[in-house]
Amino acid sequence: MPRLDWRLAVRAFAGFLAGLAVWVFLSPLYNRAIAAAAEKTLRLFERPAVTQLRPAEDNYVTVDRRDFDPRSKRPGIALHDLTFNIILLTALFAASKRPFSDRNIGGFLAAAAILALTHVLGLVVEVMSIYVAKLGMWSTVHYSNVERNVWGVANHFYRLVLMYAIAFALWWVFRDPATAEVAKKKKRR
C-alpha cells in the first residue's frame, strides 16, 4: 500500500487541479463526442432509430426524437454531472510515487479510455430514465413499471455512487505496481 505522506497528498491535489482544468476546458469538445457515441448506441436498439442528442450551451445536451411533436419542449441533460469523475481518476493516478512513469501514464490512459465508455453508457442510461418516466403520458404508454424502476434505479445508482466507484476501481486495476514494490523494499529493511 502507498504510504500517505504530505508529498503524496500534494501530488494528489495537483492531480485534482490538473483534472479539474482539463475537465473544464475540454468538456465542450468531449461532450460532443460522448453525445454522438451515446446517440449511436441508443439507435442500435431503436426501430426506427429516432433519438437525436444535440449538444447545447453550458455543457447541456438536448434529447430529441424525430417522432416527437415539434411544438413540445425537449428535455436537457447536464453532461457535466455525468463526467466529472475523470477528476477523481486524475487525482488518484497523480498520487503515484512516480506520476510521470511510462507505466503510470499508460495505466491512466487505459483507465481514462474505459471511463469514457462508461460516460457513454451513463448518458444512455440517463436518456432512458427520461424516456421511461419523465415524458408524461408518452412514458406511461410506451414503458412498463418494471422498465421505469430498472432505468430509474440504474440512473440514480450511477449518479449517486457508481461513477466514483468506477473511477476508484479503474485506478485500482491500472495503477503502477512499482510504487508498492518500493514500499515493500522499505518494509524489508
Binding site: 502507498p2 454531472d81 469523475n85 477528476i87 488518484l92 449517486l160 455512487v161 466507484a165 514494490e181
Partner: protein
C-alpha cells in the same frame, strides 16, 4: 502485470457490497426512516456551524436558509455516497472484524466532518460568490469528499493489510 486473485476478489466484493448497500438505502422505508433523519441531522450541524460564524440561517428539515441564500441537502450532498464507498472498500478488504469496525467508525466521522465543511462553504459561496457555486457544488467538493474517503481507506488498509496484499498495494 496481471492482477492477483486477492485483488480481483477485492473488486468483486467491493462492487457486490456497494450494490447491496445502495439498494438498502434506496429502499423507501430505509430512506424515509434513516437517510432523511440523518440528512436532517447533517443540516442541523451545518446550520449550527454557520450560525457560529455569524450567518443568520434557519434550518427546516434538510433546508438551510437565510434571506440571502438557501441550500437543500439531498442524497449526494449528505456524505452518504462517500460512506458507501468507504463501507464497500473496508468490508471487502481482508481484515479483522474489530479493525473493520474501527475503520468504519473513524472513516464515517472523517467523511462527515469534511462534509459539514463542504456544506458551510457551499452556503457561503452561494450567498457571496454565486458564480462559483455550481462548479464547487458539482465537481470540487464532491470529488474532495470521495477522495478523502479513498485516502482514509488506503491509510487504514496499509495498517491492517496482511503481508501478501501489501506487496501490490
Amino acid at each position: 502485470m496481471p492482477m492477483q486473485r486477492t485483488q480481483v476478489l477485492f473488486l468483486v466484493k467491493f462492487f457486490a457490497i456497494l450494490v447491496a448497500a445502495y439498494l438498502l438505502i434506496a429502499w423507501n422505508p430505509v430512506n424515509d426512516h434513516v437517510i432523511v433523519p440523518f440528512t436532517e441531522g447533517v443540516a442541523r450541524v451545518s446550520g449550527a456551524l454557520l450560525q457560529g460564524i455569524g450567518q443568520p440561517v434557519n434550518v427546516t428539515g434538510t433546508v438551510i436558509r437565510s434571506s440571502r441564500f438557501g441550500v437543500n441537502i439531498n442524497n449526494g450532498c449528505n456524505g452518504v455516497e462517500a460512506m458507501l464507498i468507504l463501507l464497500a472498500s473496508i468490508v471487502a478488504f481482508p481484515a479483522s472484524l474489530k479493525a473493520r469496525a474501527i475503520g468504519l467508525a473513524l472513516g464515517a466521522v472523517c467523511v462527515q466532518l469534511l462534509n459539514a465543511i463542504r456544506i458551510v462553504t457551499l452556503y457561503l459561496l452561494g450567498a457571496y460568490q454565486p458564480r462559483l457555486f455550481d462548479m464547487f457544488h458539482t465537481a470540487v467538493w464532491q470529488i474532495l469528499v470521495i477522495l478523502s474517503a479513498i485516502a482514509f481507506f488506503l491509510i487504514w488498509s496499509a495498517r491492517v493489510a496482511p503481508p501478501r496484499l501489501a506487496t501490490r498495494g
